[in-house]
Structure formats: structure tokens, C-alpha cells
């Protein structure tokens, strides 16, 4: 008997506003109203300023290692724009733009990279988890957060962000499988920026798209132009609706590019072709959205000038707030470990400066042995 084909698949790639400024009016209809496009452009501009300032803070020794977000702003911004304010955001570390749009004060991200946990003390009503450092691990938390919402019969969903490298991690696959099998409302947004530090995406996956990884788990999956805020808002909006309505997850591969180094500790010139970078510089999401506004006379040079000034001012104020925060105290590392501090830890906290031994002082001072129990 001849073999039957039991499964067919196709992967769509969505683009609405391309790098030449061509806009697909049909696909892009009602995705983002013009007034919002202006606001989103302004927000992206401020985030770009933030990124540049953060980079300089590291270079001038005022901040530790920092991962530049430059070039990837549209991915998280388009996604967060399309979500509800109480949908969980579960980020990695190149989602600043989306997190700021939700309302995270900029100094939180600075504090995090300045080595201060208060940068993760994120107000609960922002519905976002702290930036996850171990790659791909946060995807499972998104699944749990979405699950809790479903269990409590809430309308909220969860959106996980992760990179192309994360799709090689076991937790990524466990997260996709749990979400699909347990019918959970999760939107998985993969920022395929071409590089996991020095390793290109093709080394992570031999399939032609990362999007098709979702197929294996029986979930909807789609690719889109991640530097196109319209495409991002559209695919995430549809995925969010599917999640809310059917409790079904979606895997979105957003094609973007890391215009900077992996972090300030990296030098991409060691492994990356200059020509590739030049090609992607032309696809910068900011240029594209500015072209869109210019064509429709929604923005002009004088507004741009004012915007640049506002960006400098807002970012400088955030830097000031981050740098002026009182230094943490040494007891902080003890105080936040458990709800109730165990006795041994309290001893360590009490003696951290006074006793290198951390031992029982009464023993050290005793002059003569205690009476023997077995004379």
C-alpha cells in the first residue's frame, strides 16, 4: 500500500510596511491608527536614545555590562501595543521598548544593569516579570502565568519573548509542548536577530524557519517582519485573540537584527560580516516608521527636533534617578532571601563585619574545657 501523506504544513510570513516604505493597505487596515503610529514612533525614538545613553554609561564606567537593544525596538513594542495591560509580559533582555511602553520606568532597566536588584522590583500592576538571564528558562514561567490566569478564569494571557538561540534550549521545547497540550493562552515571540552572541541562527536550526518549530507541537505558527511594527502588532494581536478565545498558543518568529554587539562585553566585528550589518542598517525599524509618517505628513523636521530634545531630557532624568538612588545596604542580601530569616542567616548577617570566623563567640572565649561527661 502506498504511503499516505498525513500532514501538510505551510508557514506564512507577514510584512505590511517594508523597508522602502511600501505599505500594504489591505493587510495593514485598522492595525494601528495614525495617532498611535506617531506615539509609537516617538516612543521608539526615546528608547533608541535610552539605548545609546546606556551604552555610553557602560563605556564611561558608570554602568556594568549592557545588552544593546538597537534595531529590535519594533518587536516588543508592536507586541505590547497589541496586548492588554494585564497580559503578562515575560521578557528576556532586548524588550526594553515594549516594557517602557507598558509603563516600566526607564531607571529600572538601568538599575538592573548597574548591579542593583531594585531594578527588578517591578510593580505588580505592570504584569511583567524581571528580565531573564538564563536563556529560554522564562518561557516556562509564561506558561505557568498563563495557566494561572486560565485557572482563575481571567481574561489575561501571557506573552514570552526569547531569542533564536533560546529555541535550542530544552526549556523552550518543554514550554511549547506544555502550552499546546494543556491548552494555555500563551503568545511565544521569538526575536530572531540572526545571532546568539557569535553563533548565527543557521547553527541553531537546520529548518528554513524557526516558526515551523511550533508545527511540531500542534500550534499555530507564523513568521513576520520584526522590524515592521504593523506586522508585529497584527500577528501578535491575532495570536492574543486566539489565546483569549480558544486558549491556544501561537509561535511567532519575528525576523529582526541585532545592530549592536551582543553586550558591551562583546565585539561583533570578530565574527560578523560588515556587509550584513550595512544591509540591516537600512532596515532599521525607526527609519521605516519615520518614512511612513513623512509620506502621510504626520510628522516633520520641527517635530523631530522637539522629539530629540524630549528624548534627551527624559533619558537624562532616568539616568539621574538611577544614579541618585541610595546605595544598597549589606543587610539587603540577607533580608530578601526568605519571607522569614532563618536563625543561622541572622547570625551571619549580625557577624559579617565583626567575626571572620562566624563562630560561636562563647566558645572562642572559654578558658577551660567544660566538665567531661565520661570521666
Amino acid at each position: 500500500m502506498p504511503a499516505k501523506i498525513v500532514f501538510h504544513a505551510k508557514i506564512e510570513s507577514v510584512s505590511i510596511l517594508d523597508e522602502q516604505g511600501n505599505f500594504d493597505a489591505k493587510l495593514g487596515k485598522d492595525v494601528i491608527p495614525d495617532t498611535d503610529v506617531v506615539r509609537l514612533y516617538e516612543h521608539m525614538t526615546i528608547c533608541r536614545q535610552f539605548d545609546e545613553v546606556a551604552f555610553k554609561l557602560q563605556r564611561s564606567g558608570r554602568m556594568g555590562t549592557y545588552p544593546e537593544n538597537r534595531g529590535q525596538e519594533a518587536v516588543s513594542l508592536g507586541a505590547v501595543y497589541a496586548l492588554h495591560p494585564d497580559d503578562w509580559l515575560v521578557p528576556c533582555y532586548r524588550e526594553n521598548c515594549g516594557l517602557f511602553w507598558r509603563g516600566l520606568p526607564m531607571e529600572y532597566i538601568l538599575l538592573h544593569w548597574m548591579g542593583d536588584e531594585r531594578g527588578n522590583e517591578i510593580p505588580r500592576d505592570l504584569y511583567m516579570t524581571p528580565q531573564a538571564i538564563p536563556i529560554g528558562t522564562q518561557m516556562l514561567h509564561a506558561v505557568g502565568l498563563a495557566w494561572a490566569g486560565k485557572y482563575r478564569k481571567k481574561d489575561s494571557i501571557a506573552c514570552a519573548f526569547f531569542g533564536d538561540g533560546a529555541t535550542s534550549e530544552g526549556d523552550c521545547h518543554e514550554a511549547l509542548n506544555f502550552a499546546a497540550n494543556l491548552d494555555l493562552p500563551v503568545v511565544f515571540v521569538c526575536q530572531n536577530n540572526g545571532w546568539a552572541i557569535s553563533v548565527p541562527t543557521k547553527m541553531q536550526c537546520s529548518a528554513p524557519t524557526l516558526a515551523q518549530r511550533g508545527l511540531a507541537y500542534g500550534m499555530e505558527c507564523v513568521q513576520c517582519d520584526g522590524n515592521d511594527i504593523f506586522a508585529m502588532a497584527k500577528v501578535v494581536g491575532e495570536a492574543a485573540e486566539r489565546a483569549r478565545r480558544d486558549h491556544r498558543p501561537t509561535f511567532i518568529e519575528a525576523l529582526t537584527y541585532r545592530l549592536g554587539d551582543h553586550t558591551t562585553a562583546d565585539d561583533a566585528r570578530r565574527y560578523r560580516d560588515e556587509a550584513e550589518l550595512k544591509k540591516w542598517l537600512k532596515r532599521d525599524p525607526l527609519i521605516r516608521i519615520r518614512t511612513y509618517l513623512q509620506q502621510r505628513k504626520l510628522f516633520d523636521d520641527s517635530r523631530e527636533k522637539a522629539l530629540q530634545a524630549r528624548a534627551r531630557e527624559e533619558v537624562a532624568a532616568a539616568v539621574k534617578r538611577a544614579e541618585e538612588i541610595a546605595a544598597p545596604t549589606s543587610s539587603d542580601m540577607f533580608d530578601w532571601l526568605y519571607a522569614e530569616m532563618p536563625g543561622e542567616l541572622a547570625t551571619q548577617r549580625a557577624t559579617l563585619r565583626t567575626s571572620g570566623l562566624g563562630q560561636d563567640p562563647s566558645q572562642l572565649q572559654e578558658q577551660s574545657p567544660a566538665p567531661s561527661r565520661n570521666p
Binding site: P130, A370, R373
Partner: protein, 332 residues
């Protein structure tokens, strides 16, 4: 009061906490219709339904990682990992996230999960079904680690663990699951995490253990004519230093018994604390009776590996003889 096995006591604690608090949910491999491979969750699926007793895909990191998300959203998940040998895939989620979430967010997010894990050898189980990894998790700041050795403690400790605002690894000694029965109150009670139990009072030597070897210690005491004090730690992290110190200051001698390998085992930490607090009270070197620094053998040799009563008896005799038989004796 009911006369219950350790399995039944845990099952009762789960039922009572789930009835009391609808934020408590159970998830894991086989915990649903099957009631768990050891039947610890027997009857819960029927009683509480598929939304609260959830069979998940088989993936330990996934089980703990999603539990973390559930907990961050305010639920109190009780994930089960089927055997301690399969806890390793979840190590990353436990140690890089569950343990650190409170600190790194200054308590804005907490992870009140109770991770139930059958532990230890002695039941002739296959490879990786008999290990004792408790020290690995006790070493991670931010986690709590407990291991009851009796049905009464199992119920009270589990209720404490579920209500605890921080992540607790609840190790269940599988050798004791059905080893004996004990009177367990039907009424609600808790056993405080971080408090040891003096099982038997004595004056000659302090015997310190936890989990299944506690029963071996009892057997050793039964066959000894000395006055031995037995401490069941119950909580491995935090450790009840006070109870240990008080006892060793009284007896002047200590023997620590655990199933896990000796090297970097909890015995080393306990011995060190005894040295710090009881140095001038000690009459003999502290002895450890432990598993060997080998891979846990397949079950034909497990009796040789485990710290059984005869090994404990020998250590007790040596420690008691030290300095008394000859006046200058040695612990050997």
C-alpha cells in the same frame, strides 16, 4: 486519630490543604488518574477534578518551570517529581529561578511551591531511583529542604511546606512509605520547618539523622545498652543547630548518619557546626556513618551501601569507647 502509613499521611495532608485553599493545585507525571506511581495522590483526581490534579507532559524542568509561573501569579502549586534521580533536569529551574526570585525582585515576586520528591534507596528499585541528593539543594540559598521520617511529621511538615511563602523541596523517603503505621490526627496541625525532633533522649552520645536512616538508628539504639539521644532533623535546610548543639553539649559525643555520599554531605556541615559550638564539650571525634563516595549501586549491593543499623552500632561503640576504654583510646 487514624493509624496511617507515611503515604496515607501525605495523601491526607494534600486533601486537607486542597479543601482549605483553592490556590493549591497538583501537577506532574502520573499524578492524575493513576494517583502517582507510589499512589501518594490516590483519589485526588476524582475528588478535585482535572483542573486541580493535572497530568502534565513528561518533562521535569517543564513541571517545575510552569510551577514557578503558577506561583508567581499567586497559586500554590505542589508539583511531584517521580523520583529524586529525575530531579536533576529541574535543577536549573529550582536553583536559577525558584530559589532566587524573591531576592532578585525584592519580594515583588515569590515562589511558594512545594516540590514533592520520593527519595533514597532500600526498595530494590532500578538505576536512578535510589539516590539521596538533599545536600545539593540545601546548598542553594533560597530553597528550603525537608525530609520527614514518620507519618505524623510527614503530614505536619507537608502542610507547613504548602503554606510556606518560599519554595520547599519535600523529600519523601520511599523506604518508609509503607514501612510502618502511626497515629496521625485527622485534625489540622503543622510541624514547623527548621525544627528537629528528639526521638529518644539519652546522655552518652547524640545520634543525628533524617529520612529513612532514622529507623536504622532506632534499631541500633534498641540493640545498645548505652544511653543514646536520637535527633531526627526533619528539616535539612534550615538546620536546627540549636537542638544539635544543646544535645552534643550534654553528651559530648556525636554520630551523624545519612544515606547520601560522605563527601560534601550534610554530615560535614553538621560536624562543622558542632565544632564551632561544642568544641570544648567534645569527648571524641565526631563520626559519620554515610553512603560511600560511590555512585549509588544497583540494588544487589544497596544494603552494603546504605547506613544500616549494624554500621551505626559499630560507630556508636567506637565513639563511646574513645577515651574511656584505655583512657587514651582512639575512635579507630
Amino acid at each position: 486519630m487514624a493509624n496511617l502509613t507515611l503515604v496515607q499521611a501525605i495523601n491526607l495532608a494534600l486533601i486537607q490543604e486542597m479543601e482549605k485553599d483553592d490556590s493549591v493545585i497538583i501537577l506532574g507525571q502520573d499524578v492524575g488518574v493513576n494517583g502517582g506511581v507510589f499512589r501518594v495522590t490516590e483519589g485526588l483526581f476524582k475528588r478535585f477534578g482535572p483542573e486541580r490534579v493535572v497530568d502534565t507532559p513528561l518533562a521535569e524542568s517543564g513541571i517545575i518551570g510552569t510551577s514557578i509561573g503558577l506561583a508567581m501569579a499567586g497559586l500554590r502549586p505542589v508539583p511531584e517529581i517521580q523520583f529524586e534521580g529525575f530531579l536533576a533536569p529541574a535543577y536549573d529551574q529550582l536553583c536559577t529561578h525558584a530559589a532566587r526570585m524573591r531576592t532578585r525582585t525584592r519580594s515583588m515576586f515569590t515562589v511558594p511551591i512545594t516540590c514533592r520528591v520520593p527519595v533514597g534507596g532500600g526498595i530494590h528499585a532500578p538505576e536512578l531511583h535510589s539516590d539521596s541528593p538533599e545536600a545539593i539543594y540545601a546548598h542553594q540559598p533560597g530553597l528550603k529542604v525537608v525530609m520527614p521520617a514518620s507519618p505524623y511529621d510527614a503530614k505536619g511538615l507537608l502542610i507547613s511546606a504548602i503554606r510556606d511563602p518560599d519554595p520547599v523541596i519535600f523529600f519523601e523517603p520511599k523506604r518508609l512509605y509503607r514501612a510502618f503505621r502511626e497515629e496521625v490526627p485527622e485534625d489540622e496541625y503543622t510541624v514547623e520547618i527548621g525544627k528537629a525532633r528528639i526521638v529518644v533522649e539519652g546522655n552518652d552520645v547524640t545520634l543525628i539523622s533524617w529520612g529513612a536512616p532514622v529507623v536504622q538508628c532506632m534499631n541500633a539504639i534498641d540493640s545498645s545498652h548505652h544511653s543514646i539521644e536520637l535527633i531526627d532533623l526533619r528539616s535539612i535546610c534550615p538546620l536546627d543547630t540549636e537542638t544539635i548543639v544543646e544535645s552534643v553539649r550534654k553528651t559530648g559525643r556525636a554520630v551523624i548518619v545519612h544515606e547520601a555520599p560522605r563527601n560534601c554531605g550534610l554530615g560535614a556541615e553538621i560536624a562543622s557546626r558542632i565544632m564551632e559550638h561544642c568544641f570544648l564539650y567534645l569527648e571524641a571525634p565526631i563520626q559519620r556513618v554515610t553512603g560511600f563516595d560511590t555512585v549509588m549501586p544497583y540494588y544487589k549491593l544497596e544494603q552494603e551501601y546504605l547506613p544500616e543499623a549494624h554500621r551505626i552500632s559499630a560507630a556508636l561503640e567506637e565513639v563511646i569507647a574513645y577515651g574511656t576504654a584505655t583512657g587514651l583510646g582512639s575512635a579507630g
